[in-house]
Symmetry: C2
Subunit: 509 residues, 2 copies
């Protein structure tokens, strides 16, 4: 296209042309730009055009108010400061109901709402270890008797019932609500600090979620919460930790997968419109090549036992200078080719660092998707390769903000992906820790803050469909998945048309 | 290149290759990426290689400390919070001395240091209008007698001497230091508020700088401060306001240019190593097509009188929905082709808005450079056209931060320009208002925070040379300019080699 356009320009520019020719060429350029943007291939049905009018009315109302008064434009702020405002947005409410396809980047321990997590702390046999004279909970453990070991020296074990009696139930609930989240914002001063904080939450809830009788319940509830948020398919990065029993004994990782398998079966039986869920085996990256060798073997073995459930491999945890992906190439190349890679890479703004170069290794290793790839716009070649080979970028806007990579959604690099029509999917990462819905908040921020002003239902539909296209489902499964999504989508279209008046009259303060 | 690389990949990826082949392809990809980055065409001399070692030693020291402790990494913070730290950086001190070529985006009223501006307030006949019981200065005017008119109702005119007597000299100096700047940071809550604040400073100092006997002095001093900062060439966006005399009468705009002309002549005579300065006529964009018609005529006329000085046209002030560039196309197309355009465009993060589309009009109108183009990475076609036609982007990192477009230098879109080798120059915009050096702080932020980790002297040299290549100088003038820059550059290289030990041993707290 460029050479043709360049021809129009003549030797240098359009300075010599008439206003009329100017306008015509401008139109061509704008159409070309528009045509290259993600979602442009979608043809809306008549019904969808009506819904599009509604959704764009809501969007432009919110957008224009934000232009008038930037203080009112939510994507310019940290989500922690505007979570309540979003709840009141009619646009958000409509997006909540929208069938979004799949969430392809979630993590096993950070999927459920805080309240669900707090409710789990009422379970029998749950002990908590406190420090600072009983003020700070630092560890949980299910145990028949008072646990003997503890991770924090000088701590004190009590049952949760005792703690609630001592400090008051409401106080404990409030305290747990903070402990299970990245709030308050003032605590997070850098990307590193945010990571430390997040890893601290993972460590804290480990004793609750790794308990054999709890884990299945957590996963089942996660699917439920995602499904209620319009997500019909979920891929989970899982550490496949070994679950423990009341007596303290650890079960083999196979049992963890067995729980996933059984609960998924239950959930699908209870919710026939739900598509499926898959597991990506994702150990922590801060390790040795030798350990990775072991993980590759374990993954290969577990995949044989659960070939339809455990379908991929990734490494998780903060990317650091010390553990670049290239360190593990020899071991990773030994993974059987049918177990696909779904690497996190380039979740950094340190351009030219080894973290940033993980993008190159991810692509060279044949990754099917890239988690975050926040730095990809600084790697035009990687971007082109992603487009050429259909490697989708898993964009998690809110996660990037909370982990202090970027402050303003309007500057998120995904805008450049949209402009270049690089395949991408929207996901949420660890919504549990930022108290957001499983996927709706990320859709809201992307639609209102990252995508172009005129991005409309075509953009949303393409994004939802992309999540099935770029999933780990087989071609046959995808056909079925698309059908299930379409059924829900059409219902949502009908519902929106029926309720247009009500949706549009809703006051928005 | 992409097709060749794609061939290596085979049908999907490298999963089947040996670790050795993997490493070889990885090397090719990295070399290709590196080769595509800005500055890669530069061949360093033996002497420059030595200086490069020194500069990279300073850079990596600061960079690595920043990775260890993000709290120490200046480009992750607002410049207002770290101005003093930068002053102590040996890297910054070396960059200060480095000959940087030209500053191509400066604005007439915001070039000089605050102290120089404060000193001007001691001049005879300067009156100030105060409100809030004499607490707040809202207007300045040179006048023999007490001025009668005022812009702010209920104000009170006093001479500056009276104000200093009444409030104490030190207090007044402190107050003026704040008034003449964008400080404190807490006052700036959004892009709009930042603009309002900045336009307020312009309005406030208008009465000082527009005074006929002052203006020449201000411009001469600006050239002096820039030259001392290693800038040998300056292009000024000027509103070409009509200067006033002590009696209040206004001189024609021609006189303003005459002052530029005379002072430039003086400055060049006093500083033979200085290259030159040019003026870009830049009225405010918040106006009617009819007014633009008048400006085009005025510009054409003034260019005839000062063909070597007034060489281009631009529109300045905040880009808004209400005044897109396309509104003025008919009038702008009437500009004689030898008067080049240097449009501000896309200084926004509102993707898909009319502000953002100004980028398209700037390019279609044949702009020679684009001011800011902050949004250009969301317009791949515009980026390609910029590369094809050698349209340089004027990147002003600190200005973007102060005007609240982006918070963290590591996310600045210029990284994507560097990765794609899009022509760009570094400039400072309005350094006076953020108390930075004319160009050194922007070089420091770009080098340490925006460019890739391994960007080195090649990057700096290319950036300096680009400022001459993309200037408004004629080819003959450029040859001469390059020679003057080179002479200084070689001196700096020699000086750095001589002082290497001293430079490297400097303690950095």
């Amino acid at each position: 296209m460029l050479p043709q356009i360049a021809k129009f320009f003549g030797p240098t520019n359009l300075r010599n042309c008439s206003p009329d020719s100017y306008r015509k060429l401008r139109e061509i350029i704008c159409k070309f730009e528009q045509g290259a943007i993600l979602g442009n291939d979608i043809q809306l049905t008549d019904k969808e055009i009506k819904v599009n009018d509604t959704i764009m009315c809501l969007k432009m109302d919110e957008y224009n108010r934000g232009v008038e008064d930037p203080n009112q434009f939510v994507p310019g702020y940290h989500i922690f400061k505007r979570l309540n405002d979003i709840e009141k947005s009619p646009l958000f409410q409509l997006l909540r109901k929208m069938p979004k396809g799949g969430a392809l980047k979630t993590h096993d321990f950070s999927m459920c709402s805080t309240n669900f997590l707090i409710d789990l702390t009422y379970r029998k046999h749950l002990w908590a270890c406190t420090v600072n004279d009983g003020c700070k909970i630092v560890q949980f453990l299910f145990s028949k008797d008072k646990p003997k070991k503890m991770l924090h020296e000088g701590g004190k074990w009590e049952t949760m019932d005792e703690i609630r009696d001592r400090r008051g139930e409401e106080n404990v609930r409030k305290k747990l609500k903070m402990l299970f989240s990245m709030y308050p914002l003032s605590k997070i001063q850098s990307n590193d600090k945010a990571w430390d904080h997040m890893m601290g939450i993972f460590a804290l809830i480990d004793g609750i979620l790794n308990y054999y009788p709890i884990w299945g319940e957590y996963y089942y509830n996660a699917l439920k919460e995602f499904n209620e948020d319009g997500v019909q398919y979920v891929e989970v990065r899982s550490l496949l930790k070994r679950l423990y029993c009341l007596g303290g004994e650890r079960l083999p990782a196979k049992e963890t997968l067995q729980v996933y398998n059984d609960e998924l079966k239950n959930f699908k039986a209870d919710n026939p419109d739900f598509i499926d869920s898959k597991i990506i085996y994702s150990p922590l990256r801060h390790t040795t090549p030798d350990k990775i060798k072991g993980h590759v073997k374990a993954c290969t073995k577990l995949n044989k036992e659960f070939p339809n459930l455990l379908i991929g491999f990734d490494l998780v945890g903060q990317e650091t200078m010390k553990y670049p992906l290239k360190m593990f190439v020899n071991e990773l190349l030994k993974m059987p080719p049918h177990i696909e890679f779904y690497f996190h890479a380039g979740q950094t703004n340190l351009y030219g660092s080894p973290l940033d170069e993980n993008l190159i290794d991810a692509v060279l290793l044949g990754t099917r998707r890239i988690g975050h790839a926040y730095a990809i716009t600084k790697h035009p070649l990687v971007m082109q390769l992603a487009k050429r080979f259909g490697i989708a970028i898993e964009v998690c806007p809110i996660c990037n903000q909370v982990l202090q990579l970027g402050a303003d959604y309007r500057n998120h690099p995904a805008a450049t992906l949209i402009a270049n029509d690089i395949p991408f999917v929207l996901s949420s990462g660890n919504p549990s820790f930022w108290r957001t819905k499983p996927l709706s908040h990320d859709f809201y921020m992307a639609f209102l803050g990252i995508a172009p002003r005129n991005a409309d239902l075509k953009f949303l539909k393409r994004t939802a469909k992309n999540s099935i296209r770029h999933s780990a489902l087989s071609d046959e499964e995808k056909a079925n998945a698309m059908q299930k999504w379409k059924t829900k989508w059409e219902k949502w279209i009908d519902w929106t048309i029926e309720n247009t008046e009500k949706i549009l009259e809703k006051p928005n303060e």
